[in-house]
């Protein structure tokens, strides 16, 4: 497992949560593998308590399966859950971009464009991690503009299923259309065209569904069904 640096005033639970999530998404904690509170706490330099609290939270979104008094395992990729997560994103993001087209001011559009510029830069210089972060920020900005931050936060919880697959896609498919999607959406937001933006978002999010076939072939042992 890859141990990240602990942030300045971050408490143990949030630190554990951040590290564990990161390692699940990047497959350092493999789907189906057993995880141990003792082992994790030793690696993280914490006691069992904060680690346990983090694991409980992850079990709520079914990315970790706690079998009482038996074991805890990283959930296999359950494509029904990935699909639920995609459905949730699709529906919520499409509704949000409608609001964004109404609510976005010029400075909001400029922030989005700045994000796109950086995405292009990191695409040209092949930096998937940064690209990944910027993608997240882009979508988060949309929710902030629409004043739906808490909805975004909740959506992200289940999105880990989606993210795990998306992360595999970034390496196994490497679709340049993703950055283009973001750019097109930004410009149609600038034009305050909700119909066009919504269409673009649907296409954008559907790419991950298409990619799944490829991923499944690359990592069949990680899939539940």
């Amino acid at each position: 497992m890859k141990i990240l640096e602990r942030l300045p005033r971050e408490n143990g639970r949030d630190y554990a949560l951040r590290v564990i999530k990161d390692n699940i998404i990047h497959l350092n904690l493999e789907p189906g593998s057993q995880i141990s509170e003792n082992e994790l706490s030793a690696e993280l330099g914490l006691s069992r308590t904060p680690v346990r609290e983090a694991l409980i939270e992850l079990s709520k979104v079914r990315i970790i399966e706690i079998q009482p008094q038996k074991r805890s395992v990283v959930a296999l990729i359950d494509y029904d859950l990935v699909e639920e997560s995609r459905f949730m994103r699709n529906v919520l993001e499409c509704a949000v971009v409608d609001l964004v087209c109404e609510m976005a001011g010029p400075e909001d559009v400029e922030r989005l464009r700045e994000n796109i510029r950086l995405q292009k830069f990191y695409w040209d210089n092949f930096n998937p991690d940064q690209l990944w972060t910027l993608d997240d920020h882009f979508h988060q900005m949309l929710f902030e503009i629409a004043r739906k931050s808490q909805v975004f936060a909740l959506m992200q919880n289940i999105s880990i299923h989606f993210d795990r697959v998306r992360n595999m896609a970034l390496f196994s498919v490497k679709d340049p259309k993703i950055v283009q999607d973001h750019e097109s959406m930004t410009e149609s937001i600038a034009c305050r065209d909700p119909v066009k933006t919504r269409e673009l978002m649907e296409v954008h999010l559907s790419r991950y569904r298409i990619d799944a076939v490829v991923i499944r072939k690359a990592y069949p042992q990680y899939f539940k069904n």
Copy 2:
């Protein structure tokens, strides 16, 4: 605080969570009031650990505010959050009823109708608690029919903000239209009319927004802004 009965094989954390949530919704734990891990654990006959785990979960949806090393308080009613919660329900439920109109079989429609019959019964016999439970079940059934159970579970987390207000509405407004809404939706689902069903859902959910004005006058001290 009202202490509920502990279920057969329910663990301490889930028990604490269930009791605390119930008391928040029914205002036995008043908005703005301080809560103590020690006090709660004593009342529930548990140690701090499971109670604390429950509080952490509730803090994730901002219904409880944990101030590190200071105190924990039941959040005041933040109408922005209620609105986010309503937005989320609205968007997701409308998308779900579209699917339901496609996916519902005759036995699903019959289950919905049976629910309506019970709602009418408990309306006539004035049993708000049962009515409340049946309302929840009705919406849950819609998500189950559309195979989006996990989305429903997540939505319920934030819905506690909405539910707290909705509960106040049941007593201060007592709108008979709610049961009628459910019945109309069920029949338009039976007719597989997604447009009509979606319209009905929008109207149905918007009732709670309208009620808020009344509630705010009845309980001004519970509101944040």
